[in-house]
């Protein structure tokens, strides 16, 4: 049996490990266009800040591939799949045959069409090579503009700030972390970052990124101008663009695999094409809260999906139980924050709130018919997992509803 996995990250490595647990004889091949052993991209901001090295961002032990007898083809891009003859074509001309194929290609940074955005000195933060590039460029830079006030943008901002750079974040929408938190939570996080000295502009877009003028270039100066929709011009030497991600579905073009925003899979992680599975950021699964098919580009879900794919690829048939698509934990400076499930209260839902912005403290629960649909904790994130479990398992909270917002609420409150 030949198992081929495209993508050497959370989902891919977890699948390989799982397959090996049940099949000691089969061949396992991992293909990756990145040349590195599997590292955690969640740690790239820490790498950027100099807090972690290329070694300490590895989330698997050094002997992972050897111990699991996994063949690696790193630095090679899969460019095509022939699903009829069960073959993967690589960019270097090689082909790899498979009996079972897992597409765990993750996602890539999405770059909006802005004038000047493809110039040098403009980076994304998705891969280790991006981080290496930013770090190198940061050495010669004094000012940086981060485009996008989402999770990755702010993490990048904070890392660069801690390197001593002057940082300005520009977010098009009226709040930071719009995809992950609500207005109140965002305001607390924003104040905390601004208190540190990071400038944050919201409600303004990027019109154009202009390279150094001819005059500056003559003197070997690399300065850029970032022109905002409002007319403001920000000077900087480095631009980091963090405006979201897109699933890497390009490979599926000729396969007939069903793709929406990601690869559609069933609860056995199978695509509609026989012997091809998908897992992680690239896959679309049903969200437990909304009941809808969608991407869930977060680390824990990539791990679980990778394992489920592995199990089903070796014939250990197991159903993927729906996960919560949105779960985020952040701590930019001092204020930890966690959001799970819904963060904005729909009209047909009820909310329970404690809001003490001066203490950097905020708790919000969203319920529908006494079933928890979402939560935001800012300042005190203890026992957030209990709420996540209540959301995931759709447990009615009627009996302990009045205790739900209390800090003392926890698993113990439920068992007695």
């Amino acid at each position: 049996m030949q198992y081929v996995i495209i993508g050497n990250s959370a989902a891919g490595t977890q699948a390989a490990e799982t397959i090996r647990k049940y099949d000691s004889a089969g061949n396992i091949v991992i293909i990756s266009d990145e040349p590195h052993a599997a590292y955690s991209r969640c740690l790239l901001p820490d790498y950027l800040a100099g807090e972690r090295s290329e070694k300490t961002i590895l989330f698997k032990s050094a002997n992972f591939y050897g111990r699991n007898n996994v063949a690696t083809m790193f630095g090679k891009k899969a460019v095509d799949i022939d699903s009829e003859n069960q073959k993967v074509y690589l960019g270097d001309g090689h082909t790899v045959s498979y009996d079972k194929l897992l597409i765990a290609t993750g996602s890539s940074a999405f770059v909006p069409p802005i004038k000047g955005i493809d110039e040098s000195g403009i980076f994304n933060l998705r891969n280790l090579d991006d981080a290496v590039g930013i770090k190198e460029a940061a050495k010669k830079a004094r000012r940086v503009v981060v485009v996008g006030g989402g999770f990755v943008g702010l993490e990048a901002a904070y890392s660069l700030y801690s390197l001593g750079l002057e940082v300005t974040v520009v977010e098009r929408l009226s709040q930071i972390v719009p995809g992950q938190f609500d207005v109140k939570a965002a305001a607390i996080l924003r104040n905390d970052m601004q208190a540190e000295g990071i400038r944050i502009i919201t409600g303004d877009g990027i019109k154009e990124i202009a390279g150094p003028s001819l005059w500056n270039r003559l003197f070997n100066k690399t300065g850029k101008g970032v022109l905002l929709d409002s007319g403001e011009r920000l000077k900087c030497e480095l631009v980091v663009v963090a405006t979201g991600t897109r699933a890497n579905v390009g490979l599926t073009d000729k396969t007939g695999i069903k793709v929406n925003r990601g690869i559609e899979i069933n609860e056995y992680m199978e695509t509609n094409v026989p012997n091809i599975y998908a897992a992680g950021d690239v896959a679309e699964t049903v969200d437990v809260v909304s009941g809808e098919l969608g991407l869930s580009p977060i680390w824990p879900n990539a791990i679980v999906q990778g394992r489920m794919a592995g199990l089903n690829m070796v014939g250990q048939t197991r159903k993927y139980s729906k996960m919560i698509g949105m779960q985020n934990s952040v701590e930019f400076r001092n204020v930890p924050a966690i959001a799970i499930g819904l963060t904005r209260t729909p009209d047909d839902c009820e909310e329970m709130v404690i809001h003490r912005p001066h203490l950097n403290y905020y708790r919000k629960l969203i319920l529908k018919d006494d079933i928890l649909k979402g939560m935001i904790f800012v300042g005190d994130i203890r026992r957030a997992g209990v709420y996540a479990a209540l959301i995931k398992k759709k447990v009615p909270v009627t009996k302990f509803k009045q205790q739900l917002l209390k800090e003392s609420f926890g698993y113990s409150s439920i068992i007695s």
């Binding site: 479990a389 009996k399 113990s412």
Partner: protein
């Protein structure tokens, strides 16, 4: 594999287990030292409707905290079954993803050191310190399969059932 079990009816809320836990995880290995070092206990005793309820990690079969860990620090040891983010090749960074994942709320943030703190079954100790210190018989260290006395409400079961 031995597990720590709680017999809630027997717990009087004396907190001896929390002190013993802190002592065991301090460098001085005694209670006074643990207080000076400000060691956080990894077991907590909560008051629920006037009743004391001890709470600690269950070292789950398929731990959601391990799945959530983005550094790879949180691991379940294949031999001992202990789930811990310490003494592994990878180190904890305090991202709190495991806290977001644990349905028991059994992992605590150590804000000062920026790492997550949890029960490690006293890593290799024959009987965990909390169990040894418990005089009421509320904490037991027994084989997982032979002990079925833990009384759980339907809700609690629903919450933590393997998915």
């Amino acid at each position: 594999m031995k597990q720590i079990f709680v017999d809630i009816d027997k717990c009087t809320g004396c907190l001896t287990c929390t002190l013993a836990c802190a002592a065991e995880h301090s460098s001085s290995k005694d209670i006074v030292g643990a207080m000076l070092e400000k060691v956080q206990p990894r077991i907590s005793v909560e008051a629920v409707n006037g009743k004391a309820v001890p709470l600690m990690c269950r070292h789950c079969e398929e731990p959601t905290c391990v799945d959530a860990c983005m550094t790879g620090a949180m691991q379940k040891d294949k031999e001992t079954g202990i789930v811990s983010n310490e003494n592994n090749d990878q180190s904890c960074i305090g991202c709190w993803m495991c806290i977001m994942a644990c349905p028991y709320g059994a992992i605590q943030p150590n804000e000062e050191e920026g790492i997550a703190i949890k029960c490690d079954k006293c890593n290799g100790r024959e009987v965990p310190a909390c169990v040894e210190s418990c005089h009421t018989g509320a904490l037991l260290y027994v084989d997982g399969k032979t002990f079925t006395q833990e009384k759980l409400t339907k809700t609690a079961k629903a919450l933590t059932e393997a998915s």
